[in-house]
Symmetry: C2
Subunit: 155 residues, 2 copies
DNA sequence: CTAAATGCAAAGGTTTTGCAGCTGT
DNA sequence: ACAGCTGCAAAACCTTTGCATTTAG
């Protein structure tokens, strides 16, 4: 009951957000967005695709890909993991943390012992046990900060 | 000067670590391990491959793949990003953090406002600017904690 | 000498792209 | 009506795998 209203409200909100972004509000996109939200955890493309197909059996996989990337670009959903589909390796095996540049994608290491032993808050203690903590800061690398500053100041 | 000794010591350490792990110490593996460490940042496979080729022009790409995965399994290097090569999406756009189960790979969300505004330590302030902070805890989900506990207690 | 590792090539799986037809605005 | 979106299929991409040959222990 409450869930139904919530679901409807959510779809309304989805449609408004797509309209605001100036893209077309298609049935496929609404279903894809709803199923992505309903998937709860952190669905991959195939999971969303299967859920959407139950409602729209003719939807194609690439439509799901395109919609999800569109949503991510619009900030309606986030992405987990690296941007490009490649695996990256980290020669630094000691405890350290990362600053990820959202502009150029560069990943820089830094150390902060105070971050090494963060744990679950009491309210989430039941989720599991923690071995190590890793902080990922998102922002701009020094290079992109400089680039943005000069562009802003030249206006 | 110091760098040369460091480099040599590192290779010695690499060889010892491979020997300890009971795998063969091949020229290719040593070069791949050295170049991965030398790449500094967070190289992808192609970056390592290109660096290694300058020294071993006949090395094949799959040898680099196999070596890097071997090193990761042995704990000599870490990996960045998700384990499987698929992209995952996150419908939760509010600030939140993740507990990643190293056993089954499940990713669970939790909220902790105290983590939302972590920033660079003073010693690393020059790396760039920070927009948001995201904490990734690695450990076991409740299900895998239970599974492990029962296995341990049954001994 | 034996088991393991390499290099080559081919296969596998995921994600992207080109294009004709359809749909929202 | 028109720009934009969908679906189909093929391509591009990264990664893994099978096998004969070479190499480390």
């Amino acid at each position: 009951m409450a869930a139904d209203n919530e679901g409807r409200d959510q779809v309304e909100g989805f449609a408004a957000r797509l309209r605001d972004a100036g893209v077309k509000v298609t049935h496929q996109r609404l279903v894809i967005l709803r199923e992505t939200a309903a998937a709860g955890s952190h669905p991959d493309v195939e999971t969303v695709y299967r859920a959407v197909r139950q409602e729209l059996p003719t939807v194609s996989l690439d439509t799901v890909y395109r919609a999800l990337h569109l949503f991510a670009d619009l900030g309606l959903i986030g992405t987990l993991g690296l941007s490009g589909g490649r695996v990256r390796f980290d020669p630094n095996t000691g405890p350290h943390h990362h600053l990820v540049c959202s502009q150029c994608g560069e990943i820089q290491d830094f150390e902060e012992p105070g971050f090494d032993h963060l744990g679950l808050p009491a309210s989430a203690a039941g989720l599991g046990s923690v071995d190590s903590a890793h902080v990922e800061l998102r922002g701009l690398c020094a290079h992109c900060v400089r680039a943005r500053r000069s562009k802003t100041s030249s206006r």
